[in-house]
Amino acid sequence: EAGVAQSPRYKIIEKRQSVAFWCNPISGHATLYWYQQILGQGPKLLIQFQNNGVVDDSQLPKDRFSAERLKGVDSTLKIQPAKLEDSAVYLCASSLGLGAAGDTEAFFGQGTRLTVV
């Protein structure tokens, strides 16, 4: 079974530039998550989708971050403009979905390491 795919693996940008990350979840998984993991900290949930609808985006800095999952499959996370403090690993994860039998485990991608200079 293919896992969660993310690209790119690494990205270096200057502050005030824009960047986008892409995630392809496991086939059939309705729930998709984006996390931000700053060095030395645990992953922090940015946004949670159920199919193409947003379930929780309470910790997403909406003035600069946006995310979409238009067809309920792939998702993109964008930062515009980037700040130095956005340097982190951005993780995508997916799970079967709310209410689905056996929906407990989340599967994670390798992450995208963003460095803002």
Binding site: G40, G42, Q50, V55, G97, L98, T104, E105, F108
Partner: protein, 108 residues
């Protein structure tokens, strides 16, 4: 508020010694709790979940609702257990909340 606390950033033990990684949580409902592990250069992966009450790689964890704890234990540490361990809470809305993590280092 939903919160997961892992008080130790680093735990270093000798090979063969017992291991206990502490986790406390705050959640008003009935939580689902997990331990996730990240080995060097690998992605985060599920280690065990409280509902299955299983032992994985010799690790066990018991949910103590009275103490709101879910500590991870292993009687005899092995070198391959060195990794980053995260205690994770899953809410009824499938929101997944991580603790800050504990780096476990096993000394030979």
């Amino acid at each position: 508020a939903q919160r997961v606390t892992q008080p130790e950033k680093l735990l270093s033990v000798f090979k063969g010694a017992p291991v206990e990684l502490k986790c406390n949580y705050s959640y008003s409902g009935s939580p689902e709790l997990f331990w996730y592990v990240q080995y060097s250069r690998q992605r985060l992966q599920l280690l065990l979940r409280h509902i299955s009450r299983e032992s994985i790689k010799g690790f066990t964890a018991d949910l103590n609702k009275g103490e709101t704890s879910f500590h991870l234990k292993k009687p005899f540490a092995q070198e391959e257990d060195s990794a980053m361990y995260y205690c994770v809470l899953r809410s009824s809305a499938s929101k997944i909340i991580f603790g800050s993590g504990t780096r476990l280092s096993i000394r030979p």
